[in-house]
C-alpha cells in the first residue's frame, strides 16, 4: 500500500464577497453574500515511500491547500485522503509524529531564542532520544554547518540560514514524510543549490518521502523524478519528469535592455530576427516590464547563443539576463497539448 493515498480530494472555501471602501466594509458586517472557491477540485494520486515528488503549478493552483490537508490541519470537503493508512485530520496528533513540515513563508523556530533552543524543544515535543538527537545534529552540522548558528537568535538569521535551519528541524524526529511548501522562496541561486543538495542528502539518509512545492523549475529538475502539475484545483500532469523536462528544458527567455528603446524597437527586432532565422524560428518577443524586452526561444529550433550573438552585434544592449521558462508558461503549454 502506498504511503500517501489520495482519491477525488476536494476542498471548498466559502468566502464573503467584500465590497470596496469604508462604507462597503460597514455593509459587509451584515452581508450574507458568499461565494465558493474550489481550491482543490477532485485530485487523485498515490505516493510511495522514499519518493521525492514535485508538486507544482501557478499561483493559487491549490498546492498549499493540498499540503494543509495532507498535514492534517485542514479538513477536506470531500474525497479520500490517507497518510500511512490513516486520515490525517482525524488523527492529527498521532500523524504529526511521522511528518515533518516546512512552510517556507513562516518558521517553526522560536523567533526570539538562539537556534539550538528550538531544536531542544523539538527534541522533547517529538520525544527524540539523546542518541538520535546527537546523531542528527551532527549530520545537520555536516550538511549546513549548523553548529556555527547554535547561539544565534533566529530572527537575526538570514533568510537562507533560517530556511536551512527550518528544513533541518523538520527532519529531526526522523519522519516518514516531509512536506516542503516553497522551501526556496526568495533565495538566491547559491543558497538554492545548497538547499537542494541538503534535501537530497536528507532524503537519501533515511529514505524519507518528500513532497515539495516550488515555483522554481530548477528545484524540480534537481530533485524530483516525478512531478505533479496542478492548476485551478485539478491535476494536469502526473508522471515522470523527463517528458516535461523536454518541454520546459527547451525554452529559455532572454531578457534584454536595449539602448534608446522606443516603440519601434520591438518591431525592428522582430523583423531582423525573422530575416535572420526564418519564419519558423520559434522565437517570441514581448515587452514585459519597463525597458526590458523578453525574447523567448525554443532551443530545439534556434540555439540561444546564436540569437544572443546576433542581437549583441546588431543592437546596443545595456544588460542581459537569461531566465528559465516560468511556471505559467509551462502550464499554458501543457494546456495547449504539449504533453499529448
Amino acid at each position: 500500500m502506498s504511503l500517501i493515498h489520495i482519491k477525488d480530494l476536494t476542498k471548498h472555501f466559502k468566502i464573503l464577497n467584500r465590497r470596496e471602501g469604508l462604507s462597503g466594509a460597514f455593509r459587509d458586517l451584515f452581508s450574507g453574500n458568499y461565494r465558493t472557491v474550489e481550491a482543490v477540485a477532485g485530485v487523485s494520486f498515490d505516493i510511495e515511500a522514499g519518493e521525492i515528488v514535485g508538486y507544482i503549478g501557478p499561483n493559487g493552483a491549490g498546492k498549499s491547500t493540498t499540503i494543509k490537508m495532507m498535514t492534517g490541519i485542514l479538513k477536506p470537503t470531500g474525497g479520500m485522503l490517507q497518510v500511512n493508512g490513516l486520515m490525517p485530520y482525524d488523527n492529527r496528533i498521532r500523524q504529526a509524529q511521522i511528518m515533518g513540515v516546512v512552510f517556507g513563508q513562516r518558521t517553526q523556530l522560536w523567533w526570539d531564542l538562539p537556534v539550538i533552543e528550538s531544536f531542544k524543544i523539538l527534541k522533547e515535543i517529538y520525544k527524540v532520544d539523546q542518541k538520535m538527537f546527537d546523531r542528527h545534529m551532527d549530520m545537520f552540522n555536516e550538511l549546513v554547518g549548523l553548529k556555527a548558528l547554535y547561539s544565534q537568535q533566529v530572527r537575526t538569521l538570514s533568510l537562507g540560514q533560517r530556511m536551512l535551519c527550518d528544513i533541518s528541524a523538520s527532519f529531526l524526529h526522523n519522519p516518514q514524510v516531509v512536506f516542503l511548501d516553497e522551501p526556496t522562496i526568495g533565495l538566491d541561486i547559491s543558497i538554492k543549490a545548497k538547499i537542494r543538495s541538503v534535501i537530497k542528502e536528507l532524503n537519501r539518509e533515511h529514505n524519507t518521502t518528500i513532497i515539495l512545492t516550488t515555483h522554481d523549475l530548477g528545484d524540480v529538475e534537481a530533485l524530483c523524478q516525478r512531478i505533479i502539475i496542478i492548476d485551478k484545483g485539478k491535476i494536469l500532469y502526473d508522471g515522470d519528469i523527463k517528458r516535461v523536462n523536454a518541454l520546459f528544458g527547451a525554452y529559455r527567455t532572454l531578457k534584454l535592455q536595449i539602448d534608446d528603446f522606443t516603440a519601434a524597437t520591438l518591431q525592428t527586432l522582430t523583423g531582423k530576427l525573422t530575416e535572420k532565422f526564418g519564419a519558423e524560428h520559434g522565437i517570441s518577443i514581448a515587452e514585459t516590464e519597463e525597458l526590458w524586452t523578453d525574447v523567448t526561444i525554443d532551443q530545439a529550433r534556434t540555439p540561444l547563443s546564436d540569437v544572443l550573438n546576433f542581437v549583441m552585434s546588431n543592437f546596443g544592449v545595456d544588460d542581459v539576463r537569461i531566465v528559465e521558462i516560468s511556471m505559467e508558461n509551462v502550464v499554458r503549454k501543457v494546456y495547449d497539448g504539449a504533453l499529448k
Binding site: 492534517g72 490541519i73 504529526a96 511528518m99 513540515v101 533552543e117 517529538y126 537568535q153
Partner: protein
C-alpha cells in the same frame, strides 16, 4: 509532560530575552507603589481607620490587587488571534501536541516572569520598604494555591476567546467585551459586596468571582478560617475543571472551521 515543560522553559527564556522590558516593569511597579503609598497616606492623614479599614489593610488591597491583576492577565486571546491571522498556528498544529496545553504552558512562562518581576517584588517592597504589616493567617498560606487556580480560570476565559477567533479571525471586540465582563463581574473593580444583593448572589454562582475576588479575599481577610476558605477553593476547582472541559469540547468544534491563512 516533558514536552510542555520544554515549552514553558522556552517561553520563560523569551521573557528573559526582553530584559529591558523586565527591568522597566520592575521600575514601573516601584513607581506605582510609591505614588499610591503617598496618595493613601495623605488620605488617611491623622485617621486610624477609614470605613473600618486601617491604612495597612487598604494599601495591601490596592498594591497587591494591582499586582495580581497584572499576574492574571494571560494575553492568550491576543496571542492566538495573532497566530491565527498570521497562520503560525499551522506550525503548532503540525506537531504532536495538544493546543490547549501548548498555549497554557506558553503563557505560564510569562506568568513566571511577571511573578518574578511584579508580584514577588511587590510583596518584598510592602514588607521591607513600606513597612506594611501583612496580617498572617490561614488565608495567606492558601493564597498561592488560590492564585494558581485563579490563573487557570483566567486562562480558560482567554483560551475560549482565542478559539472564538477560529470563527471571527479578529479578537478586538471579543476581547474587550470579555475584559469588561471579567473586570466588573469578578470583583476586580468593585468588591462584590458593593453590588445589589440579588446581583451579588447571582455573581457568586458565576465563575468570574473565582478569579480575583477569591484570592484577594484570602489576603485581605486571612483569618476567616477553613469553614470559609475550603468552599471557596472547592468552587474555584470546580470552575477550573468545568471550563477546562468545556473549552476542550469547544475546540473540537472550532477546529473544523479554522482556515489556516497563508501559503
Amino acid at each position: 509532560m516533558k514536552s510542555y515543560l520544554a515549552v514553558l522553559r522556552g517561553s520563560f527564556m523569551v521573557g528573559l530575552v526582553y530584559r529591558f522590558g523586565f527591568l522597566f516593569s520592575i521600575a514601573g511597579n516601584i513607581i506605582y507603589m510609591s505614588i499610591t503609598y503617598f496618595l493613601w497616606r495623605s488620605i488617611y492623614q491623622n485617621r486610624e481607620t477609614l470605613r473600618g479599614l486601617t491604612f495597612d489593610q487598604t494599601y495591601i488591597y490596592v498594591a497587591l490587587g494591582s499586582a495580581v491583576f497584572i499576574l492574571l492577565k494571560t494575553y492568550v486571546d491576543w496571542q492566538m488571534s495573532y497566530e491565527i491571522r498570521e497562520g503560525t498556528v499551522a506550525t503548532y498544529l503540525t506537531k504532536p501536541i495538544d493546543l490547549q496545553f501548548y498555549e497554557l504552558f506558553m503563557s505560564l512562562g510569562f506568568f513566571l516572569m511577571s511573578l518574578g518581576a511584579i508580584t514577588i517584588p511587590t510583596i518584598l517592597l510592602l514588607v521591607f520598604v513600606f513597612r506594611i504589616e501583612i496580617p498572617l493567617g490561614l488565608g495567606l498560606a492558601i493564597f498561592p494555591f488560590s492564585l494558581i487556580l485563579a490563573y487557570l480560570l483566567s486562562f480558560c476565559f482567554d483560551y475560549f476567546i482565542g478559539l472564538l477567533c477560529f470563527y471571527t479571525e479578529s479578537v478586538w471586540g471579543l476581547s474587550i467585551t470579555k475584559e469588561i465582563l471579567v473586570t466588573v463581574l469578578s470583583g476586580a473593580l468593585i468588591p462584590l459586596p458593593f453590588f445589589p444583593d440579588v446581583i451579588h448572589k447571582i455573581l457568586l454562582w458565576l465563575p468570574f468571582q473565582a478569579i480575583y475576588y477569591t484570592p484577594l479575599t484570602m489576603v485581605a481577610q486571612p483569618n476567616l478560617g477553613w469553614g470559609t476558605f475550603l468552599p471557596m477553593l472547592a468552587v474555584q476547582l470546580f470552575w477550573v475543571i468545568a471550563l477546562f472541559t468545556l473549552t476542550r469540547l469547544f475546540y473540537n468544534q472550532a477546529i473544523k472551521v479554522l482556515r489556516i491563512s497563508g501559503g
